[in-house]
């Protein structure tokens, strides 16, 4: 019974942290972009405008829901949930920190759950996210939405391949799918996977931008062509849910980048750091990648759709194949093999 309480506590804490970070990201996005563009950004609601996400949320709740005529109402309503849920569920296995303590003989870890197939779970769950985009785009009965949905789905599936292969290179070097073990495998001098798998890191980074539909790959919602893409027709909280999903996915991707390539919660030069120190280290590393998301978005122009597909299939995918081939070669014939 009390174990369930602990589970509940950790789940709520992790969930709240990630959703809170996602909400803060919407704020940070505006503030950072404002700083880059000689503007102030939101500064009226609360100190430094910090309560802006909350104000936005309240506004969204009180907005009118418009379901366009000819739309498929149930799919239309389901799509935002289908976008937000997978991103939220992916939080479950992310190791925010190491062992917090023991309770009734079991170790309490800094993640909601710790299944053996951690990374596979993430890939499986985030893969469902594509349904939200395509169903939302199709159900709206609007041409812009339809094109946006199709683009989003084609883009997500194309980059998912390279993403999986990049992750597999890490899995092969670690020999485990468990995220805690992947983190543990990165201890020591230059132990971070980014040093042993630099190409995989670059592939993963690029693919994570495409997977989350972020600039310069935000074709699903690129406003000059498709106005709003698959969420053109959405309003009120349903629209907000797409955004929560997108930002949560960003947070998850930043967490995964940290976990897979930058030693997760490991503190550099401090092997037996306490768990809260690990949490801080994890937060710092993740924050950097979140900042990178914003930085890239407000700096680069957008690719064209066929260029995106070209990049995904003809550059990243072969590179990912070569990368995993070389990794396998080193593992099977390298110094470690006998």
């Amino acid at each position: 019974m009390s174990m369930i309480l602990i589970w509940l506590l950790i789940t709520v804490a992790c969930y709240g942290a990630v959703i809170g970070t996602a909400a803060l990201m919407t704020f940070a996005e505006r503030k950072v972009s404002a700083a880059m563009q000689y503007r102030y950004g939101p500064n009226r609601v609360g100190p430094f405008g910090l309560l802006q996400p909350l104000a936005d949320g309240v506004k969204f709740i009180f907005k009118e829901e418009v379901i366009p005529a000819g739309a498929n109402p149930w799919i239309f309503k389901l799509a935002p949930i289908l976008t937000a849920l997978p991103a939220m569920l992916a939080i479950a296995v992310i190791p925010f920190t190491g062992v917090i303590g023991t309770f009734e003989g079991t170790e309490v870890l800094g993640s909601i759950a710790n299944p053996e197939i951690g990374i596979l779970y993430v890939l499986a769950v985030t893969g469902v996210g594509v349904y939200g985009a395509i169903l939302g785009g199709w159900a709206s009965n609007s041409k812009y939405s339809l094109l946006g949905g199709l683009r989003a789905s084609a883009q997500m599936v194309s980059y998912e391949l390279s993403l999986i292969l990049a992750v597999l290179a890490v899995v092969a070097t670690t020999g485990s799918l468990n995220l805690h073990e992947i983190v543990a495998g990165q201890s020591g001098w230059f132990g971070w996977n980014v040093f042993s798998q630099p190409l995989a890191f670059v592939l993963f980074l690029v693919c994570s931008y495409a997977e989350t539909n972020r600039h310069p790959f935000d074709f699903a919602e690129c406003e000059p062509e498709l106005v709003g893409g698959f969420h053109t027709e959405y309003s009120s909280m349903k629209f907000a849910m797409f955004f929560i999903g997108e930002y949560t996915a960003m947070v998850v991707m930043a967490c995964l980048t940290t976990t897979l390539f930058f030693g997760g919660y490991l503190v550099p030069f401090w092997a037996d750091a306490p768990w809260w120190m690990g949490l801080i280290a994890f937060g710092a590393k993740t924050s950097f990648f979140l900042l990178l998301f914003i930085w890239v978005r407000w700096t680069l122009p957008r690719f064209r759709y066929d260029q995106l597909m070209h990049l995904g299939w003809k550059v990243l995918f072969p590179l990912a194949l070569i990368n995993i081939f070389v990794t396998g070669l080193v593992i099977s014939f390298g110094p470690g093999a006998n």
Binding site: S33, D218, C222, P224, W298, P301, R302
Partner: protein, 404 residues
């Protein structure tokens, strides 16, 4: 076009397949019947720079047809010109192309002055030249910034607006208005530049000389930007001439034609002979001659040339009157006059006919945006949807002028 909507169109016909089989391309495709998507782009669309409407037919991502529709911002400017007094029409010229109002004022004023046959004070011409060239920079800054916006780069847009803001402040100081100036009057300019204004223009020139390099490096030389614009929307020199393009659209295709040099007005002949400025031309530096990149780069270079002209004027300006003596109620001698000037977007021509009265008998405007627009129908098919945005942006239309 509407009957196309219900028809099913095989995307690949058997003839296509047989033709392609020789090259080994696309033969994996069966004859699956797909339909072209017909979609309105505009009037309320983020990328059409106003209330332009383009009916696009797309096969998935591929644009197969495009047709611009006009008339959403029509205000009968020309007809108004035949019903109000000569000077009263001046504010209406501000509103054709609201990004280059100084140029519009100038075009109209020059046409009326030609009918009047009066001499303009030299200081007035100098101030006119400064204002017109600064306005050209402001206009090109918007064109360049919004082009980045069309391609998804948001930040350069606001950098451009920062510099434009300075220009608008300068205009505000000299005439009190930020967008619709009505400052260049018939016979000269409304009033002399306030004390210190010319020095401030000098300061702006100094700062802008550094800034434009930043913009070029930030956007024009960006790898993604080049990939998005090079080889896209190519207008061959022949096409450009056939469609009667003017301005950066024409020069982007490599044709050396600038009214400031070739049909000079005001002091431009003197400035050209002093060797102050060059006329930038498209060169196909990143792709084919006449692609979107060339057109946009011509605009970027023109800003620098404008700065040179402004500097020359600042160096040579002398005190004197700024407006010619004219009666309160203008009565223009009978006759007709056409004056074309080099607007930021091309040739802005005013054709005026007078019967000696207080009101023009005929007032006709040749707007560059309007004349540059029809080529869209020719260059947009067989591009991608995203390219269509890039092409519309590179034509730099201002809808206020296409419709007037």
């Amino acid at each position: 076009m509407s009957e196309q909507t219900t028809q099913y169109k095989p995307s690949i016909t058997i003839a296509d397949q047989q033709a392609a089989a020789g090259k080994g391309a696309r033969e994996f495709m069966m004859d699956v019947r797909t339909t072209d998507l017909e979609v309105n782009m505009g009037p309320q669309h983020p990328a059409t720079h106003g209330v332009m409407r383009i009916l696009i037919r797309a096969d998935g991502e591929l644009v197969t047809g495009a047709q611009p529709h006009l008339g959403y911002l029509h205000r009968c400017a020309e007809k108004i010109g035949e019903n109000v007094e000569w000077l009263q029409y001046l504010p209406y010229t501000d509103r054709y192309d609201y990004l280059s109002s100084m140029n519009n004022n100038l075009g109209y004023s020059l046409a009326v002055e030609k009918l009047l046959g009066i001499e303009i004070p030299r200081r007035a011409s100098m101030i006119r030249t400064i204002c017109v060239e600064l306005n050209r920079i402001a206009s090109h800054l918007v064109a360049f910034g919004t082009y980045g916006l069309d391609l998804g780069a948001f930040t350069p847009f606001l950098y451009c607006f920062r510099e434009r803001e300075w220009l608008l402040m300068l205009f505000e100081k000299i005439c009190g208005a930020r967008l619709t100036y009505s400052y260049l009057r018939i016979g000269g300019v409304f009033n002399d530049a306030p004390p210190g204004w010319l020095e401030e223009v000098e300061q702006f020139c100094d700062v802008f000389d550094e800034k434009w390099v930043e913009y070029r490096d930030l956007l024009m030389m960006n790898h993604i930007f080049i990939k998005r614009t090079a080889d896209i929307g190519v207008i061959t020199p022949e096409q450009a001439l056939d469609f009667g393009l003017t301005g950066p659209m024409l020069r982007g295709s490599g044709i050396d034609w600038d009214l400031r040099r070739d049909m000079p007005y005001m002091l431009y002949d003197e400035i050209w002979k002093a060797g102050v400025y060059q006329i930038p031309l498209g060169s196909g530096a990143q792709g084919v001659l006449g692609d979107c990149w060339d057109r946009v780069y011509v605009r970027v270079q023109e800003m620098v040339e404008s700065i040179k002209i402004v500097r020359w004027c600042l160096a040579n300006i002398e005190p004197g009157p700024t407006i010619a003596e004219l009666p309160k109620v203008l009565r223009v001698p009978p006759g007709e006059a056409y004056v074309g000037i080099e607007n930021p977007r091309g040739e802005l021509g005013h054709y005026l006919v007078s019967d000696g009265g207080k009101v023009a008998v005929r007032c006709r405007v040749r707007g560059p945006s309007f004349c540059n627009l029809p080529i869209l129908e020719d260059i947009m098919p067989h591009t991608f949807l995203a390219d269509s945005v890039a092409i519309i942006g590179s034509t730099d239309v201002v809808i206020g002028e296409t419709d007037r």
